[in-house]
Symmetry: D2
Subunit: 370 residues, 4 copies
């Protein structure tokens, strides 16, 4: 498969650069007969749109999506769905310096070497976080598909930011509140704290990382294909494809490495005829297949590499040590805007796996029209 594409049955191809003409996505394999409008995609894009609050970058982008193909009379046709947003607020001048002075923590150096200097270096080009807009476009289709056919719900939220963590998450709160505050944390008080921490760190010209938790409800038993397309293999691949992600864990994850088998094993029981487990340390995955319990994982994001403070680097043409101060407009933390990215990227993986496992028919009968 191609490097910029993901999936077997629900195939997603991403294209575009940070300061090129556009960011785009093509989805191939979405069943025909799903009601789909630009508004379905737009509402997800709006959740990751930059420039909307003090905690995000001040880059102004309308990010208005155009569906170019694959939809006819507001229903998917079974043909590839191409979508695109035009870049408008491009100011590459502020990036001129990084052409030869690679920013620490960015792909400037590695991309330059790999592509012999022909890469579009403006704002990171193809390696910019801005490409996640294409994840959201494709994911919006996947999310609607999963929801309309299987009732699947995907809820991600900021679990930890700059060291501030919510330990107890109320699922109902997460569902309702996660997008009601700028940091996308379901607990209002914690959200307030996180916001303060961001504002303070931004003032220092610095940045923060964090952890996003994602909970998927109503997955049927048996999603995931052995061995290399298990549900956790595929989610892991997808999450690490999001710029700035540095780790992923399922269920109890790294903590499971520290407890005993007798503590970690989830006991089966029957609840109103449905087989469930009393605990959910596995995070809803057994043998790489969904087991019907909530599917839970967490993704660690590093602090944004773009910081206002002066940093030391080298000039790659002279090999001399230099100082670099990247002007530009930065997110003091990518975490809040990564929340909808995680949700939609998850939807892409699950739509693909649900189709591969035969849970979604090849033609829908007008699903999704309200």
């Amino acid at each position: 498969m191609t490097a910029n594409g993901y999936g077997e049955k629900f195939f997603f191809m991403s294209f575009g650069e940070s300061h090129g003409k556009c960011i785009g996505a093509v989805v191939d394999g979405c069943p025909a007969g799903l009601y789909l409008t630009e508004q379905d995609v737009q509402k997800e894009l709006d959740l990751r749109k930059p420039g909307t609050s003090i905690v995000t970058t001040q880059r102004r982008e309308e990010d208005k999506v155009e569906i170019l193909s694959g939809v006819f009379n507001n229903f998917t046709t079974g043909a590839p769905i191409a979508m695109m947003i035009r870049n408008s607020d491009k100011d590459p001048s502020t990036y001129e310096e990084i052409r030869t002075k690679p920013r620490p923590g960015h792909a400037d150096f590695t991309a330059r070497v790999k592509y012999g200097g022909y890469n579009d270096w403006r704002g990171g080009g193809r390696f910019s976080g801005r490409i996640t807009a294409s994840f959201v476009m494709a994911g919006a289709v996947a999310k609607k598909l999963l929801n309309e056919t299987l009732g699947i719900e995907i809820i991600a939220f900021t679990k930890e930011l700059g060291g501030i963590r919510i330990n107890e998450v109320n699922l109902e709160e997460a569902r309702t509140n996660r997008y009601t505050n700028e940091v996308r944390c379901p607990d209002k008080d914690t959200a307030e704290e996180m916001k303060k921490r961001i504002v303070q760190t931004r003032g220092e010209g610095d940045s923060l990382g964090g952890i996003i938790e994602c909970i998927v409800l109503n997955l049927p038993v048996g999603i995931g294909e052995p061995v290399f397309s298990s549900i956790d293999s595929e989610i892991a691949k997808m999450m690490l494809s999001i710029p700035a992600a540095k780790g992923v864990e399922f269920g109890r994850g790294f903590e499971a490495a520290r407890i005993k088998g007798s503590e970690n094993n989830d006991e089966f029981y029957v609840d109103n005829g449905i087989i469930r487990t009393k605990t959910n340390n596995s995070g809803g995955v057994l043998g790489g297949l969904s087991n019907g319990m909530p599917f839970i994982f967490r993704v660690a994001f590093k602090p944004a590499a773009s910081i206002a403070a002066t940093q030391r680097t080298i000039d790659i043409e002279t090999n001399e040590a230099v100082e670099l101060r990247v002007a530009g407009r930065h997110d003091p933390s990518v975490v809040p805007r990564a929340v909808p990215v995680v949700e939609n990227a998850t939807a892409i993986v699950l739509a693909d796996l649900a189709l591969r496992a035969g849970f979604i028919p090849p033609v829908l009968k007008g699903k999704g029209k309200e």
Copy 2:
């Protein structure tokens, strides 16, 4: 791509079951002209062979590999390399009970649902850890290929086991010592402690998890393809395909989520004409591409689900609660035997990415003969 296969240019297909006739691997895409003998594969298989020490399962398997195709006069030909080990010590009778009583923490339940009961349930069948022998067979080829062409070295070891952790790892020690003790921990004293903990836990009929760290040396700059075949995306996918793995992190990983950008960014400098970074918080990855620094990641393994203690589960045919005591022969911790699996699985990913990026020519000139 097929679910039981991995890779684009260096393609690995896995087959076989725990108590079927064999475990096998086919590698397609290995360049012609690599010196390769059964001994090259056997020596890696021997490192994960069961029944060799008190800390592993007592299942006795010779795991003697036969190369079936793709090698002629001890050189790879460019044709698919099929390899196989026959299963010999099969005693499915001890598993009879689990046909209807799914073991907690295992794939018995999910596989039964997914395959309508037609799955080979003996010892977990296709979902057994035993299938990782196929990872090792394919990985042995990849490891030799990487080493002979690019001098790449892959060193994994037990970083943490049952809560006991080594914090400072001496690379030279890791290289030399990791396979000199049963727990595959480079630090001898810590290894001794870990072993004691395992023996004690085994006595309690329980099991332990742990964390494996993997360090890859001599990777050239630019390994990894954007976006979905970045080096971390692919390694994450592969690692989560190993049974019992529950998480993966790169460089500082989850810890990076708690520090600031100014602390996490790795400063570039020039060292004898080579561009390096002063710290290596990134774990050798920038923008999903290798940056020439050691590539470092960690994998969390849950405690083995197979424990000797009596557990509660259900009878899936009657939906009644039952008790289950799995006789069988178990690993009290999969971690020690997972160390060579992690190394060889890593080799598969890197061989594929190195070939994709053009770092290895399609024909070698008799490389690898001593």
Copy 3:
């Protein structure tokens, strides 16, 4: 791989419909550093543009390409190259009838069944010959890549049209003359005859088929991967993906089935140090690999299914027999406009195989700038 995409290393994704907003192509995997402008693509598109002569459809389309991504400062960057032409001369009203009355020889019936009626039926939608514009966009990139790196030349032409055939083709004439007449036949007299036959047939409201021959020069020895990606397997797949193609043959093709081995085998000899064959019955392919001789194949195209004459069909909603007269604007023969499609589609296959076999480096040093 996705159904609407082709290739491993040089991946081409096609999207768009006949009367939707656009036709588009994304190319992933083109090496960085190739000089590429919209003009390079436009000149190939112009060769298949409708409405340019009496022998083609009167649909008026400018088919002006926009490169959306993957090119920076007129060089490819290594990122996906998205390209698009907007549809302008859409007049679906003339097609209203075919929504329920499937045209004989078209995909109207099969697409309706497959997609439950949600397919875009206007002008055949995704099944229209118009989608071959996307083949040309991607192929234009491939053609330039092959030519600049390996000096490969691809020459297709009309070998036979409506039963009129040129038997002796002068390669130099084919190279120079094929696009100098409307039927794309290198022999001027035969071209004149073919044109007359088309004009006459058009007058009768009927259509003609034909055979296109394609000759590829300067292929190195060893292009093609065994078994399923042999050069002939891949070309066969690609050619049958062109709407209206009904057959493909290599070298002597179907004729070879009628001669003896002693006649068909091509004798090897050495010509100025280069190994060649005295005859080229194989069409330049031995064991699915290019052998250094001209690579030759022919593609049979059926007469265009769209004809002006009244035809009998059924009403798919009532199952009643009906008569159908499709107004629209038709090509009396698709063959002339299929010539550049065959050339560019061939380029896509060969670029992919050349990259897979390692004949083209991952980064070019500014190749292709005049």
Copy 4:
């Protein structure tokens, strides 16, 4: 996808060489719950077994299949099905000469160049027609799957051999008689003639080509995926992957290029509630999708390149002209033994496409047990 593998959902991996240890196949993606025994595979293999009659090679091979994995209690489990036959009658000594003297019409020269001389040259190695035994193994599974779930029947036969052709084929005769004579021609008189021609040509130390026709019955409407996985694209690819195949055509094929649209278009009508076409010039394909009519195509095979007569070639190490007389054991025509290969290879393609289009469920309920 890997070069030696085919398919998306029903994935087939081929391995092995002519004079290596074995020929093998792995099938990944066959639904669980299909009754399958070694006898199901053996009976198809027996149809292509060498050494069974005067019209085939005298190489003696038992070709006894062993199913290595993926089947449990005689039902498929959903896990990869690995199968293998051991080579027994290996006599590479007769091939020693071809190591440096490439046989005309064979892959000896191209394979040597491509693999730098490391290819297994014995009897053509990976490029031998013997690898089609793996097509038959995988195809036997596919054939049974298609037949048990959709009632699909695949009937191939020798349509033309050495210039002798049957024009009118009675389907019932083809079904019943095709394997009752050595040349696999349904018409007894023509079969007798063909056999005489073979025996005569063999006496002359020469070989013959021919054409195989394949008719598939009971395909539902809508098999095939646009654009590059249309039913004809995929069949074309598969057929050209069979050694010695030089062309493929669908329905009227090359003949369609010579008639008019009004003659070639197949008129729709309703027959007992089922939509059919009065003629079947399309060969059952419209827009790359099956239309419910018999799916018909023909494959041209060149005369076997291995002939007993002395031929001229070169010595590749000295570049000198030499004479070559290949002893060995040859098929005077590959056509008769290619008939079951075409059938089974067709089954692989159709099983894959049927699964992709959702016509076969992921779990069967014990299908196929008599």
